[in-house]
Amino acid sequence: MNKALTPWQEAVRPSPFHGAAASHSLTNEWLRWGEYTIADLYSTVEQEYDALRTHAGLIDLSPLHKVRISGKEACSYLNRLLTYKADDLPIRQACFSPFCDDAGHVIGLARLLRVHVDEYHLYTDENHDAWLWDTAQGYDDVQIDTFTHDVGVLGLFGNRSQDVLMALGIEEVEDLEISHHDEFIFQRVRIRILKTVSMGELGYYLNVDPKNSLLVWETLIREGEAYGLAPVGRRVQDICRIEAGELRAGADFIGAHQARYGNRPRTPFELGLAAWVELEKGYFVGSRALSHGDQHPSRTAVVGLHIEGTEPLTGGRILSKGQLVGIVTSCAWSPRMGHVVALATVASKYVEPGQELQIEYSTLTELEPEVWSREARIVEKPFYTNGL
């Protein structure tokens, strides 16, 4: 029998934590991330926000794309792939880095963990395998294997996240430093834990074998209760990462491989990621283009905006004296700040904090388009860091 295929047919798979997460969902609001569905909201924004910002939030990050890069040349391969210095990353440490195409445009953002001398794990939000493979051509000893589906990842973030892990009996995490990772045994289950900062909170990535996923989830929820732990969905994560000034691919910038229009891709400099571009380390993909800074000056910049009113205005047009100068890319009401915060792309001469701008956006109100205008001001980002 011929099964009719629709052009949008793709794979869907449950995260290893799906069953457990579903039992916590009061809203049944899910969304797609790669091949997975994950919770957008479990309960209410207030409850989840409060858990993450004052106690601990449990986040299913299993859809993260995970690639193991190994072999004698893995180190030199990564040093060529990434804009940040990868070759002096010690074992059991992690770093963040953009990676670019030949033209120096950002393809994606990665977290790199060095696991052994010749083994690394690379986490990205999206699948960039084709590029990773292309870049590996010509090396004799680099193996690339994707293990996205073989490992579930939980994020545990917030003030009390360390207490929760200690309560589970993983006391050694007390000595784990930021950007370090290690393997720990918990109820005879091996989990790799990375201590890191995300969304303005200290916390951990826990790598869990899918066959132990329920055990780990349930134990965390049970032991975490005393510390105010609650599962947190994508919506609240988004608010928190905007508050922390963290960019999201597809929202705040278009990856070089997704962009179809010539002026859409961005250099790391335009995204404010200069600290992760090591032009001095020697050659890496895109370095030639990026070091020609005088010939390709940054045309845009990513800034923080404080916007009047209460509505999030994602997609709003930013005007200065009536001229279009940028676009709001991510926007949310910030409970912590008590006003609307936004990340925006603006023409590079509008980066100075304090600049007054107008946001214009339109909605369809009772089938009539309605144009709104709000005052906004450029402010320093991040908006909020929880003292980190």
């Binding site: 030949d102 870049t135 051509q137 050659y283 030639r288 020609h292």
Partner: protein
């Protein structure tokens, strides 16, 4: 300190000669283009070292004794596009370059008694063509003239002159389009049409005689991995004409003493300008520091440092092997890997105990270039098998008897038949060592149709398949052009889109071989690379920084 003042710019290029064996430019490969480039740079005052892997200089411009007392050109055998600027600029005639015969005619027999004659002189050709077709004879001069006009208009685009290559490829395209403004509107349309046409179609619409069309089509495919019905054949025809236009005086010529004499003249000229040349010096690595080339490393680990490295090796060798992907952008290296450079032209030298008889040709005709390509279909059929990993049973040939013009080549009464043969694939089903004998037999048999007594006259022979050319001359794929001459691999797209041939992407590294702007014994890639390197030097000296 030497001050170089370019005629055009008033900015002096100051080159401080370096001590301790460090030179200003090191050239990887001493093929004829490497030698041209070296000599031109040295002439401009640079200290230049050429490092050649083989034991002799000249690359595919080579000759050798394949039998005692018999000397043949082992690869290229005819010069038809050696740039006048080089011959004059390096005073090659003073350095020993001689043509045993210039302005060679072409004869194309059909094997059944008819012959098309193409002479360097258009009007003589026209007179001869009347025997084949009155209307073709009438159309010929106009066709030639028109093609020459278009070839010249195209030259800038097809050969990546420095002014073009310095810009981005798209900028170069704009410049090209503005250049062809000299043609009227219809002319520009026609040029663009020709560029994407097959020579088969253009010849079909112009002429009626199959033999004439075959003879003309031959030049559109020689050295190419395509047939006369392939889209890029017309562009290649124009490329070839644009080359011929640069050596109008001599036309097609045979070098006295064989092709290596050209290499000798070039190396002599280079030496006179102070170029150091080393043979048996295989470069294993181009040294990159801070993203820029700064020297090379030889097999034994010896390093030769220079702020300018110019490679005569083919693009794949240069970038993927000598530079290495760890210094290349991912997109660029993917493009280079995709560069098609498998040759289909084989070389055959036969030593004969006397001159053979070609059906329809007189004894006198044998001193011309003999083209075996009786029709467009014949050539297209010959092309078919290589698409599927096999060789032609009825190939097309370009044959000369060099010893008829140059008695120094043989000591006895032997005759030399030197032939370029198509189509012989780089990779053959069953593998080359296994099928080589079959190929040789087939080539002799195919030739036997046109020259029935050839088999009985063979004393010995020497055949090189593209695979053997690759080994012998160190060019990936053994391709005539170091990379197929196809619409997506020529002009500003050569050797890779966006690369602009001579400069990018590795600072301090230039290319000077056929892969940069097209093959043939033209010397033009070498000349343009030298011009480009000097222009670059001038700008970087001016701005005081070296671009990465």
């Amino acid at each position: 300190m030497i001050n170089l003042l370019s005629r055009k710019s008033k900015t002096p290029v100051s080159v401080t000669p370096q001590s301790n064996g460090v030179c200003d430019a090191v050239i990887v490969g001493g093929g004829h283009n490497g030698l041209v480039c070296a000599a031109m740079l040295a002439k401009a005052g640079l200290k230049v070292t050429v490092l050649e892997a083989q034991e002799r200089l000249g690359g595919a411009a080579a000759s050798d004794e394949i039998k005692q007392g018999v000397r043949v050109s082992t690869c290229a055998h005819l010069v038809y596009a050696l740039d006048e600027k080089i011959v004059k600029g390096l005073r090659l005639h003073k350095h020993g370059l001689q043509f045993a015969k210039a302005r060679l005619s072409t004869v194309a027999p059909d094997g059944e008694g008819a012959v098309a004659h193409l002479h360097a002189d258009i009007w003589k050709t026209q007179a001869g063509l009347r025997v084949l077709s009155e209307s073709d004879a009438a159309a010929f001069p106009k066709f030639r003239e028109k093609m020459q006009t278009y070839a010249l208009a195209l030259k800038a685009l097809l050969t990546n002159s420095p002014s073009v290559a310095q810009q981005s490829d798209l900028g170069a395209l704009e410049q090209f389009l503005s250049k062809i403004q000299i043609l009227n509107e219809d002319g520009r349309r026609e040029l663009l049409r020709l560029l994407v046409s097959s020579s088969g179609d253009i010849l079909d619409e112009t002429f009626e005689n199959e033999l004439l069309k075959g003879a003309l089509a031959f030049d559109s495919i020689l050295g190419l991995n395509s047939g006369p019905r392939s889209m890029n054949s017309m562009a290649h025809y124009l490329y070839r004409l644009s080359g011929e236009a640069s050596c109008d005086r001599d036309g097609m010529a045979i070098v006295t003493g064989g092709m290596s004499s050209l290499a000798d003249a070039l190396s002599d000229a280079a030496r006179a300008h102070g170029v150091k040349m080393r043979t048996g010096a295989k470069v294993m690595r181009i040294i990159i520091q801070k993203g820029a080339a700064c020297g090379v490393e030889l097999e034994d680990g010896e390093r030769v440092m220079a702020p300018l490295v110019i490679s005569n090796a083919d693009p794949k060798t240069t970038y993927l092997k000598l530079v290495g992907v760890e210094y290349l952008d991912t997109g660029f290296s993917a493009q280079l890997r995709a560069l098609r450079c498998e040759g289909v032209t084989a070389k055959m030298n036969l030593i004969l105990n006397g001159l053979p008889t070609f059906r329809g040709l007189t004894q006198e005709d044998l001193s011309s270039r003999i083209v075996i390509c009786p029709s467009i279909d014949f050539a297209e059929r010959a092309f078919n098998p290589v698409k599927y990993g096999s060789f032609s049973h009825d190939p097309v040939f370009e044959i000369i008897f060099p010893n008829l013009h140059d008695t120094s080549l043989t000591s006895g009464s032997e005759q030399i038949l030197s032939a370029n043969v198509q189509y012989v694939p780089y990779k053959v089903e069953g593998g080359w060592p296994a099928r080589r004998e079959e190929l040789v037999e087939q080539l002799v048999m195919a030739l036997g149709y046109f020259a029935p007594d050839i088999k009985d006259r063979i004393v010995s022979g020497h055949v090189l398949t593209p695979l053997e050319i690759e080994k012998e001359y160190g060019c990936t794929g053994g391709h005539w052009h170091h990379g197929d001459f196809a619409l997506d691999q020529i002009g500003i797209l050569r050797p890779a889109p966006g690369m602009g041939a001579y400069g990018a992407p590795v600072a301090g590294l230039h290319m000077c071989g056929a892969g940069a702007s097209g093959g043939g014994i033209t010397g033009r890639p070498g000349l343009l690379a030298a011009e480009h390197a000097l222009a670059d030097l001038r700008t970087s000296r001016k701005s005081g920084v070296r671009a990465i």
